[in-house]
């Protein structure tokens, strides 16, 4: 009420200071309002501005505001001190308070809108943080109205003048100048401070903290304020002694200085290292064990030091990715009016990225290695007063000692590197603002504006609230109004784990859950001597207890004997084994879970506890004194308590592996989904990345059972590539991908070629293999030679193809005879193997042979030629069949019946028999188009049903040629097949750069071949993983909304991936290949597109 009592009060533009002050006491009510106001629809209603209106305390109305926003506005306005409805007409005077409010709410509304047209880059982080700033202002008005209501009760209008002082003190800058009581002039602090505070909201540290404390005193001493009421003698009012009922409102962190990668506290020095992520999933167990033992040796090498292992997260920098993909896309598909353009496409992808909340892990390891002498810290204190910090001599000395850690940690295993000062700042900020959103505009890699120390200054804004015996800590960012409840869980009893074989790393495991969490592990590494002494002491205690029992003539509990024996065994291991076996890690492991509300936080904690106890048999405990525990996450702060100390061999600590990750794909391609293994990361795939950056072939293979989602993925990749301006050709024999061409944004740039209705000669085999051009080769004699070789290779390939096609066209009984092959070879040799030759030449050549068998073959071929489909092979191809102009070309063979390869060829119908050569030649045709344009331009060709290539010489040569040419022609080739054996049998797997394996549950043999294709160890249990991909929930009647694949990228990383392209509007509808969907879509989406054929 007091805040905006006069229109002139500058309530509007100081959202942050208001929010700051009023947050402290009546927070819960304000919190409820916050939740309601998070709803953007509510925040945007004009009535929301009503809260800022001066009025007598009337809490019930405030409550009504969020629930029914529209009527709330008039009701609050009615409560204004000047009770006139006409005031609305004079916007200038009246609207201020409201507009002030609106000024805060506006960014929330405006930013998302502005994001859409703003193009790729800027749209990224904005929507989320922008919604928040509206908050801080809201609780502020709520507080004063609620409070005085209790105090003053049913006071009459004059009451505000009396009641306002306390509220005004809490919100000094909003206090109406006109209200100023003469008495208050005697309190300089209350009046002058706010003004300065407004001017320097962030910088003035001590002042703001003082002020934040003020409410505490006020609230605890209401009676004194009563006495102030009596306006008799101003003398009686003393300037209030600022007594802190609370503790000091701000405490410095223990860390006093960051120098390079070292942090100094008064007593200790810690060196910090950055541990890069390591791959865990789908690696052979031997490799994993080697990794773990390397890490445990590194830990053992740090014996005698205290370690602080911290894992924090960073939201995925979606904007950075968008910028990358935009730079890598020279000429995106021109926008079609009325459809989402390229920029909209990117914005949608970023929105999607942000909405699924991917977080990247960052792991830091701190080694506390030096105790500082009294002299050192005194010197530092002294030098600090001169603005210089830790003495140079000490730093130089430490610089030498710290090098040993570089050596230990930089080796294979952790491969740690020194952190930079900025990263330490980031870690400190993230630790103070535990589980809170990182500063909005901070996109850690591309930022250029965060100066040194800025992030640390931001820690000033984070307030912490505790409740006695509370199970969460509440953190409030005064600047953004963000509120977080954090529960810190401690690792309790652990059952034995079999880490590489059966269990996941136990501190990586939490990443299965979809929200980001933070880890803090403090351990003392004990070397062999220490740990043996420690254990021996314990053994002696157990023995003495046993002796005690014996002396008293009581049976000792059997566990004592068991434990003593175990201690003996361990002691023996320690004395005789390697130092690695004897080193022990005694320490505390905590996981922090955050939530927007206490309920959400506790629910998350409950799920985490459940997950750990069920899957890993680790019991996570939720101790009291959460505030201490939360503080423990901050580097340099003391350990919260000695409870839940875990004593373990360093092997087990190494197997915690918080830095494990599951990334796959490049970071410059289209967003195709997320990893679905042990953690969630976005997956990007640029199919030209292997050729353009890694200099590998661009052959990508898709293997899955029918229904595994191959075609959909193929179509989605084709669509995304076409959006980026890549020339895409998709061969889809069954035809559903043709509907892609009907998508409005692609329609003008795409066309469908239906082979079943095409002209004669479309598939003429001779012309399917292009003759190389001289210009494709280097100048000089060497180039000439290469060119000649390529030309003769093309000829040989043509002959091979024609022979194979002829063999496919004749009945299998004839094809099996030895003379057939000889005659065909002879005839093909007679015909010049040039592009201009035709199959008719071969037939006539056969007919001219003075051999009955030859004439018979010629007649057989002519017989087949009578079938309409076979006419595609004969004659010359029409000109301009597949020009390079269309961005997306889909070749279909709608209506063609594909034979079942498991059935003998003799039993195929004539049509099925014809499908085989058609598919062969159609594959060639699809690729043929790519040789038309320039060599360096990006091309993509997707070939479905490639398993028909198996068993034919020309098939193998086709794939080899494709893989080989892919680099030269910058051609990404996607080959989908039902059986990995096709690829393995063709022996081209060395040329394969990307592999997608979908669900394979039926055949264990196929599964193990698929694993071979992925280069994942066979018989390690990964077959079950393949079978469990895209498993439908048996209890649900709806269709499975996603498809999962195991993906191997060009860098050899293998990961389970869940394909999700739902962010592209309408794409999934067009790609749906299920019969029901096709039938449903028949009215809307053309299944056969005669009008679109060229």
């Amino acid at each position: 009420m007091s805040r905006s009592s006069t229109p002139g009060s500058p309530a509007g533009h100081q959202a942050a200071p208001h929010g700051n002050r009023a947050r402290s006491f009546d927070y819960p009510q304000a919190g409820e309002l916050d939740d309601a106001s998070l709803d953007p629809a509510l925040a945007a209603t004009p009535g929301h501005g009503g809260v800022g209106v001066f009025q007598a305390p009337r809490p019930p109305q405030r409550r009504a505001a969020p629930t029914e926003p529209a009527p709330a506005a008039p009701s609050t306005r009615d409560g204004a001190d000047i009770d006139s409805p006409f005031l609305d007409l004079f916007g200038g005077a009246y609207a201020r308070p409201g507009s002030a409010q609106r000024g805060n709410a506006l960014p929330a509304r405006a930013l998302p809108q502005q994001a859409a047209p703003a193009g790729p880059a800027p749209a990224t982080h904005r929507p989320t943080p922008a919604a928040v700033p509206a908050q801080p202002s809201r609780p502020a008005p709520g507080t004063p109205t609620a409070r005085p209501a209790e105090k003053a009760g049913p006071s009459t209008p004059p009451a505000p003048a009396r009641v306002s002082p306390p509220a005004g003190d809490r919100l000094p800058n909003a206090r109406p100048p006109a209200d100023d009581h003469p008495t208050r002039d005697t309190r300089p602090a209350g009046d002058t401070r706010p003004a300065r505070d407004e001017a320097v909201p962030v910088g003035a540290t001590t002042r703001t903290s003082r002020q934040a404390a003020a409410p505490a005193t006020r609230a605890t001493t209401p009676p004194r304020q009563r006495s102030v009421d009596r306006p008799t003698k101003p003398v009686r009012v003393r300037p209030p002694k600022i007594k802190f009922g609370d503790r000091d409102p701000a405490v410095e962190l223990a860390i006093t200085e960051i120098a390079g990668h070292l942090t100094f506290t008064p007593n200790t020095v810690t060196a910090w290292y950055w541990l890069p992520e390591v791959r865990w999933a789908f690696r052979p167990d031997a490799e994993r064990e080697a990794l773990l033992s390397a890490i445990s040796e590194q830990y053992a090498g740090l014996a005698g030091f205290r370690l602080h292992l911290r894992r924090t997260t960073r939201p995925f920098p979606a904007d950075e990715w968008a910028r990358t993909i935009d730079t890598n896309t020279a000429s995106p598909l021109p926008d079609v009016p009325g459809t989402p353009g390229w920029a909209d496409h990117l914005v949608a992808a970023q929105r999607h990225l942000l909405s699924v909340n991917h977080a990247e892990g960052q792991t830091y390891l701190g080694v506390t290695f030096a105790r500082r002498s009294l002299g050192d810290s005194l010197t530092e204190r002294l030098l600090r007063t001169f603005g210089r910090g830790v003495a140079e001599g000490e730093r130089r000395k430490l610089g030498r000692t710290v090098e040993q850690f570089d050596e230990v940690l930089g080796a294979f295993g952790m491969r740690g590197r020194r952190v930079t000062a900025q990263e330490l700042e980031w870690l400190l900020y993230r630790s103070v603002a535990l589980c809170m959103a990182p500063p909005g505009a901070l996109s850690p890699i591309t930022d250029g504006r965060w100066e040194r120390g800025d992030l640390l200054a931001l820690t000033e804004q984070v307030e912490r609230y505790r409740t006695p015996y509370g199970s969460t800590v509440k953190l409030v960012n005064r600047m953004t109004g963000e509120e977080r409840h954090v529960a810190v869980l401690a690792v309790g009893r652990m059952e034995p784990l079999e880490i590489p074989e059966r269990h996941e790393p136990w501190l990586h495991f939490h990443e299965r859950l979809p929200w980001p969490m933070e880890l803090s592990t403090r351990v003392d590494i004990l070397g062999s001597g220490d740990s043996f002494r420690n254990l021996e002491h314990r053994l002696r205690m157990i023995r003495s207890q046993q002796l005690d029992y014996a002396e008293h003539g009581i049976d000792a509990p059997p566990e004592l004997e068991r434990l003593a024996k175990r201690a003996l065994v361990i002691g023996d291991e320690m004395t005789t084994g390697l130092p690695v076996d004897s080193a022990r890690a005694h320490g505390w492991h905590r996981i922090a879970v955050g939530g927007r509300t206490r309920e959400e936080c506790l629910e998350r904690a409950r799920r985490l506890i459940q997950l750990y106890s069920r899957e890993l048999r680790v019991s996570l405990q939720h101790p009291k004194n959460q505030d201490w525990l939360a503080r423990e996450f901050i580097p340099g702060e003391p350990v919260a308590n000695t409870g839940y100390v875990r004593r373990m061999p360093v092997h087990l600590l190494a197997a915690a592996l918080p830095q494990a990750a599951s990334t796959v794909g490049d970071r410059r391609g289209d967003l195709i989904g997320r990893t679905a293994g042990t953690c969630r990361r976005p997956v990007f795939l640029d199919l030209h990345f292997p050729m353009e950056v890694r200099e590998r072939s661009g052959l990508a293979v898709f293997v899955a059972e029918p229904g595994g989602g191959k075609s959909t993925l193929l179509g989605a990749l084709g669509y995304l590539a076409a959006r980026r301006g890549v020339q895409v050709t998709l061969l889809d024999p069954s035809g559903p991908l043709a509907r892609l061409c009907a998508m409005p944004e692609l329609r003008p740039y795409s066309r469908v070629l239906n082979l079943t209705g095409s002209e004669h000669g479309t598939l003429a085999p001779y012309s399917l293999i292009p003759t190389p051009l001289r210009s494709e080769f280097g100048a000089g004699a060497a180039g000439d030679r290469e060119f000649e070789i390529a030309v003769s290779n093309a000829r040989a390939e043509r002959r091979m193809l024609v022979q194979d096609i002829c063999m496919m066209l004749v009945p299998p009984q004839v094809a099996r005879e030895a003379s057939t092959a000889t005659l065909f070879r002879h005839a093909v040799r007679q015909v010049p193997a040039e592009e201009s030759s035709t199959l008719d030449d071969v037939v006539s050549c056969l007919g001219q042979l003075d051999d009955d068998a030859g004439r018979e073959l010629a007649n057989l071929l002519l017989d087949t030629a009578e079938m309409p489909l076979a006419m595609l092979f004969f004659g010359r191809p029409p000109d301009g069949l597949l020009g390079p102009d269309a961005a997306l070309t889909v070749i279909t063979m709608a209506g063609l019946r594909l034979p079942d390869l498991k059935i003998e060829r003799e039993y195929w119908s004539a049509e099925e028999a014809l499908a085989l050569p058609m598919l062969h030649t159609a594959h060639r045709l699809a690729v043929r188009r790519c040789y038309g344009g320039s060599m360096s331009s990006r091309k993509l060709v997707g070939l479905d049903e490639a398993h028909f290539m198996e068993g034919w010489r020309s098939g193998r040569s086709f794939l080899v040629r494709l893989a080989r040419d892919s680099r030269k022609w910058n051609l990404a080739a996607l080959v989908a097949s039902q059986n990995p054996r096709d690829i393995l049998g063709l022996d081209v797997q060395n040329l394969v750069s990307t592999v997608f394996v979908g669900r394979i549950a039926e055949d264990a043999e196929i599964a193990s071949e698929a694993l071979r294709l992925l280069r994942v160890p066979v018989d390690d249990g990964y077959e079950a993983t393949l079978a469990s991909l895209s498993t439908a929930d048996a209890t649900s009647a709806s269709r499975l909304g996603f498809r999962e694949f195991v993906m191997r990228d060009v860098d050899g990383r293998v990961q389970k991936v869940r394909v999700d392209v739902s962010y592209v509007d309408g794409l999934l509808d067009h790609l749906d290949t299920t019969p029901a969907a096709i039938a449903a879509a028949a009215g809307v989406l053309p299944t056969v597109l005669p009008d679109m054929e060229a």
């Binding site: 409102p249 773990l292 103070v432 008293h552 901050i634 004593r647 197997a655």
Partner: protein
Amino acid sequence: MRLRTDDDIYRARLVYLGPPGYTLPVHLPYAQYGLFILLVPLYMFIHWLFTLQVELFPAWEIALAIVTTSFVFRYVDPDRPARMVIRTALTDWRRTREPAAEQRDPRLVGSRIRIREELA
């Protein structure tokens, strides 16, 4: 690799059975006796504050100390040391359930930390 912690060795329950030759009827961990011995003089001191005289056999004090000890140790287990239980009780004694109002903790402020990019 089968990996297990050494915690069970440290979790062994060590109890005081009594002086040699005489077994006490109840076997309590050593830590309980320790706490009891600390509590008796504390209660005696509190008693002295009120009455300003010291009793020869502090019966009340012993009784109270026994009750307090058993109460504290109800919450103690190998993972929750007595020190922590007592400390929590002292800081949070006011309520046993989560109350509606929070108490503000001091903010932890890192803005005075000096930063240099390089160590030396």
